[in-house]
C-alpha cells in the first residue's frame, strides 16, 4: 500500500479513493544495470524501461480539471501554484522523509520502529514551520506598514484631540487657550476688533432672516 499524491492538487490519495489514468506514451528510459544489480540476474544487459505517464487524481474535481487541460501551476488552489508563487514552504529538511526512494530498503526492525516513531514528529514540525512561513508572509509586511504609518503621520497623531481625550487637565488647557485668544484679539487695533464683532453679529442675524423667508413662501 502506498499513499500517492494527486497529480493536480498534490493532496494524498488514500486507498480506495480516486482514479488512475494511464496514458501510453512510450518513453524509453534506460535503467543502469548496476542499479538493478540486487534483484536482476543478468547484470551486464542494459534494459530499457518504458515510462508511461500514470496520472492519479484524488477526486473528480482534479480529474475534470486535467481533462480540461488546465495547468496545475496556473490554478490557484493547487499546491503546485502555491509552491511556485512562494505561498507555501518549498525547501525544508522535513521534506526529506517523504522523498520517493526507488531502491527498496532491506527490512530492519529497529529502523522500521524508529521510522514509525519519527513520522508524527516530523509532520508536526513541518506543520509548524509551514504555519510560520504563512504568518510571516502577512506579519512582516504588516509590521512594516504600521511602522511606516506611525512615522509618517506621527505629527498628525500627536496633534489630534481624540488621542488626548482622556488626558487629565485637558479642560484647563482649553480654558487657558480661549483666554489667550481673547487677549490677543484685544491687543489688535480697534478697526480690526470692530470687524471681528460685525462678523460675529452677521453670523447671529442670518438665521432669523431665513426663517422669515420661509414664512413668506
Amino acid at each position: 500500500m502506498r499513499l500517492e499524491k494527486c497529480w493536480f492538487c498534490s493532496s494524498t490519495i488514500y486507498p480506495g479513493h480516486g482514479i488512475q489514468f494511464v496514458r501510453n506514451d512510450a518513453k524509453y528510459v534506460s535503467v543502469r544495470s548496476d542499479f538493478l544489480g540486487e534483484f536482476e540476474e543478468n547484470v551486464s544487459l542494459l534494459r530499457s524501461k518504458i515510462q508511461e505517464h500514470i496520472f492519479r487524481f484524488c477526486r473528480s474535481k482534479c480529474h475534470k480539471n486535467f481533462k480540461m487541460k488546465r495547468n496545475p501551476r496556473k490554478v490557484k488552489w493547487t499546491k503546485a501554484y502555491r509552491r511556485l508563487h512562494g505561498k507555501d514552504m518549498t525547501q525544508d529538511s522535513t521534506f526529506e522523509l517523504e522523498r520517493k526512494r526507488n531502491r527498496p530498503e532491506r527490512y530492519d526492525r529497529n529502523m522500521a520502529e524508529q521510522t514509525l516513531k519519527a513520522i508524527p514528529l516530523i509532520t508536526k514540525i513541518r506543520h509548524h514551520r509551514l504555519q510560520k512561513h504563512i504568518t510571516d508572509r502577512f506579519v512582516l509586511p504588516l509590521q512594516f506598514v504600521v511602522c511606516w504609518t506611525m512615522k509618517r503621520f506621527s505629527s498628525l497623531i500627536n496633534a489630534t484631540p481624540i488621542f488626548d481625550r482622556h488626558k487629565p487637565g485637558k479642560k484647563k488647557e482649553l480654558e487657558r487657550d480661549n483666554k489667550e485668544l481673547e487677549q490677543d484679539i484685544n491687543m489688535l487695533p480697534k478697526k480690526v476688533i470692530s470687524k471681528v464683532e460685525t462678523l460675529k453679529m452677521k453670523v447671529q442675524v442670518i438665521p432669523p432672516q431665513t426663517q422669515e423667508n420661509l414664512m413668506e413662501e
Partner: protein
C-alpha cells in the same frame, strides 16, 4: 447503416459516447467511456500482423466487454506480411480500455485508448510481443502469457 460505416473507418470508436459538451471544455476530453461492443474499433498491440480490429461480439457481459474480457472481432486493417490477414475473424483480449475499471482496493483505472491482443479460441496468443502498458486485471483472467510479455504492468 451506410453513413455509419463511412464514419467508422480508422478513427471513431463507438465505445465512446459524445455527451452534451460544456461550453468551456474540449469535446473530446469530456466524453463518457462505455463498453466495447459491436462495431467498436480497437487497436491491436501485438505483432500478429493486424492493426485494427472491429468488434463483432463481446464474449461476456450483457452490455459489452470491459478491461480483461475476450471479444470476437473482424480484422479491418493488417500489415502485409503477418500471421493474420484482413477480413479474418479473430478472438482478442482487451488489454486497455478507455472505460474505468474498478479495483478491489477501491481505486479505478482508465487508459487512453481501447486495445486488444489477438488470441486463438483456446486462449493462446497469436503474436509474440505485446506493446504498451497492461493492467494486472489480466492475472485474474488467467492471461499470464500476456503479462509475461508486457512491457509495463499497471
Amino acid at each position: 447503416m451506410g453513413s455509419h460505416g463511412n464514419n467508422l473507418f480508422g478513427a471513431v470508436s463507438s465505445s465512446v459516447e459524445a455527451v452534451t459538451r460544456p461550453f468551456h471544455c474540449d469535446a473530446i476530453s469530456q466524453q463518457i467511456r462505455t463498453f466495447i461492443q459491436m462495431r467498436t474499433n480497437l487497436k491491436v498491440v501485438d505483432n500478429s500482423g493486424a492493426k485494427r480490429v472491429m468488434c463483432i461480439q463481446a464474449k461476456s457481459g450483457k452490455y459489452g466487454a470491459k478491461l480483461g474480457d475476450t471479444i470476437v472481432g473482424s480484422v479491418k486493417e493488417a500489415q502485409p506480411r503477418g500471421k493474420v490477414k484482413k477480413g479474418d475473424v479473430v478472438y482478442g483480449v482487451v488489454v486497455r480500455a478507455a472505460m474505468k475499471k474498478g479495483r478491489s482496493d477501491g481505486s479505478e483505472v482508465q487508459f487512453d485508448d481501447n486495445a486488444i491482443v489477438l488470441v486463438n479460441n483456446k486462449g493462446e496468443l497469436i503474436g509474440t510481443r505485446v506493446f504498451g502498458p497492461v493492467p494486472h486485471e489480466l492475472r485474474k483472467k488467467k492471461h499470464l502469457k500476456i503479462l509475461a510479455l508486457a512491457e509495463h504492468i499497471v
